[in-house]
Structures are given as C-alpha cells and as structure tokens.
C-alpha cells in the first residue's frame, strides 16, 4: 500500500536569468536583437521572416514540439545544476522529474510520441545513461555552473545576438558547448552530419568562446530519438575552425544588414527554394516542409484567411526570458 505523505514542494535550482521584456525592435521598427531562431527565418526566406518575426504568427500545431523540447532541455540543465550543488544522482533526478511533472501539467496535446509520459521517460533514461558521464560541467569564474547560460554578443554597431547555451563541459581535456536535441528520426552519423552546416551550431561555437573566454573545441550534441515505445540517446559532435566562424560571422552581418534592408524594400519576397526543406515524399511521415506552404501557395488575396485559420499570434522575442 502506498504511503500518502505530504505533497512535495517543487524545487528549482536558483539560476541567473535574463528577464528582460524589452522589444527586439528598435525605434525604426528594425530588429536589433537576434537569436538563432530569427536568423534562421531570415536566412531561410524573407517572407517567412516577415510572417514569423515581424508579424508574430506561429503555427498552432507546432507548440507540442517546442514545449516538449524546452521542458526536456530544462530538466537536463537543472539536473546538472543540482549535481554541481552536491545533490546525489537520485535526488537530482527526483527534483527535475517532479519539476517537469509540474511544468507539463496540463498537457493539452494529442501527439502520441511527444507525450507527457514519453517526456518523463526520456529524461529518466538520459540521466541514467549518463549518470557516470566523463563530461564535467565547467564552473565559471564567479563559482556558478556553466548551465543555462544566456549571453549577448555584439554583431556590429547596430545589432546584438542573444544565445542560450544549455551547458559548457570539459570532455577529454577540451571544452565543448553541449546542446540537447530531440527528434523523431533515427539518430546516425548522417543525422549528426546535418549540423556541420547549421546556423545555430555556428552561432554557439562563435559565442561560446566569448562566454568562456577561451576557444571551445566544438559543440557536443546529445540527441534523443523519441519513439512511442522507447527513447534512444546518442552523442555526436560538430566542429568549426576559426576561419569558418569568421566566414559565418561576415555572412550573418550581411544577412541582418544589406540583405534584410533589400528584402524589406522588395516587400519581403518569397524564397520558393526553401518551401520544400524537410519535406518528405511520403505525406504520412509528418515532414511537410515549411509550415507556411499552406499559406504562401494560396492566392495573395486569401492568404490572411489561411493564416488566421491555422496560425496564432505568438510573437517571438529573443530578449524574453525562457521559462
């Protein structure tokens, strides 16, 4: 028989947050505060950037993936904070499982894979698999663990980029940015190779070195394949040379400057070569390409109707605190 003891209180490790409700747009309406998400949108397609970043539209259906991924990453980050504060593996696991149960309630999604049960399973399985991980959390100069770090980097005179790093670790004598990913696809060398040309990973590599005041060897990707009956965890790496990062930085300054201005002057044109990215030939696999395909493919006179039907206003703010 179960003992009905008192309800345990939710426990969250104290972390430095970046609570800042300031708009990412300046007085002229131009975005000055960027992150990998908004950079991705702009680089992908000017029209996508307009709909998502400037107008604040987000697909109603994608919220389960965002919520699942965010809660998963937060749980693992907080586990490492608890461990760095001296908690045992079991106690730290207990704290983050309870915290995630609280934060994931209620779970109003129909997705059978990204379910609340599979979220908790994925957390427990990851923590048990990596209980004796040789990775060690870096301790910053102020004594705090390098976990859930929000930092800003001056891209040029007018623009900053905000980066949220999951964790910085020492691994085999080198320093890495660690990032958590969840996917429904099989994890293989092919999966990890996808990050060799990836805006987010290049940004992490650039800014991570600034945060840590030393070069980072690369980004360590701990990926979780979420399936109905199991979660499979694999670890991969992606690397950038200094020359590659310099090139990425120069390209990014072009995109947020002349490219953005030209796109605005042209009325935010569509880049129809991006519409089919991640679109499977099998319509039942759930990979349908850009979520805006169903809007941009319609006559311009009726696009607003399709936006209002399948999207909702959830403005993205790179400066907002992540909860």
């Amino acid at each position: 028989m179960l003992e009905q003891s008192s309800t345990p209180k939710i426990q969250s490790p104290s972390l430095t947050s970046t609570s800042n409700p300031v708009s990412p747009f300046g007085d002229t309406g131009k975005q000055f505060a960027w992150d990998s998400v908004s950079l991705n949108w702009l680089k992908d397609c000017p029209r996508k950037y307009k709909y998502f970043m400037l107008d604040g539209w987000r697909p109603k259906a994608d919220s389960v993936h965002i919520r699942f991924g965010l809660l998963y990453a937060r749980a693992l980050e907080h586990y490492h904070v608890w461990r760095s504060k001296g908690s045992s593996h079991r106690k730290a696991m207990y704290n983050v499982v309870l915290e995630t149960l609280m934060k994931s309630w209620p779970w109003d999604f129909e997705d059978h894979v990204k379910s609340r049960e599979n979220l908790i399973r994925s957390i427990v399985w990851y923590l048990d698999k990596f209980e004796n991980d040789v990775c060690e959390t870096v301790i910053l100069s102020d004594g705090t663990p390098a976990v859930e770090i929000a930092t800003r980097y001056q891209l040029d005179n007018d623009n900053i980029v905000i980066v949220h790093l999951d964790r910085i670790v020492n691994f085999n004598g080198q320093t890495y940015i660690q990032d958590q990913k969840t996917t429904g696809h099989t994890i293989s060398g092919y999966y990890f190779d996808g990050f060799s040309m990836d805006n987010q990973m290049s940004l992490y590599s650039t800014v991570g070195a600034v945060v840590y005041h030393a070069p980072v060897a690369g980004v360590m990707i701990d990926a979780a394949q979420i399936a109905i009956g199991f979660t499979k965890h694999e670890r991969g790496f992606t690397y950038r040379t200094k020359e590659q990062l310099d090139e990425w930085l120069a390209d990014t300054r072009y995109y947020i400057g002349p490219y953005r201005d030209a796109a605005e002057a042209a009325g935010w044109p569509q880049n129809d070569t991006s519409c089919g990215k991640f679109r499977s030939d099998d319509p039942f696999r759930g990979s349908v390409g850009c979520p805006l395909r169903g809007v941009c493919s319609k006559d311009p006179r009726v696009r607003d109707k399709f936006l209002e039907s399948n999207f909702e206003r959830r403005p993205w703010n790179p400066l907002a605190e992540r909860t």
Partner: protein, 64 residues
Amino acid sequence: MDTATPQPTISDLFARDPLSLTKVDVDLIIDYYRAKRQQSIAGVKDAGAVKHTKNTITLADLDL
C-alpha cells in the same frame, strides 16, 4: 478481506494533478521508467536486433 489500497497504474499517476502526487508517487514513476530502461537494454542484448521490448512492466513488478 483485503482492504489495501490498490496499486496505481502509471497512467493513474500521470492522470493526476501533480500537486496531489506524493514523494512515493514520484519515486514510483522514476523507478517505473528505470525498470523499463533495464528491460529495454536486456531486450536488446537478448534479441540482438530487437530495439525495444513490449510495454509489459507494471508498477506491481517493481521491487520497492
């Protein structure tokens, strides 16, 4: 006559408001998934190419 409270299922625990969960409940959830992972590992080792096993563990199977 057995008056013991029936063992909750994992679905019962997830269906409850987390504010009503006890420490024992949370420990049960954790141990359930730890056991499921061990079962999965054992399944892979025993069956070679088998990636995972059936959902056969119940809370009553846990040695708590």
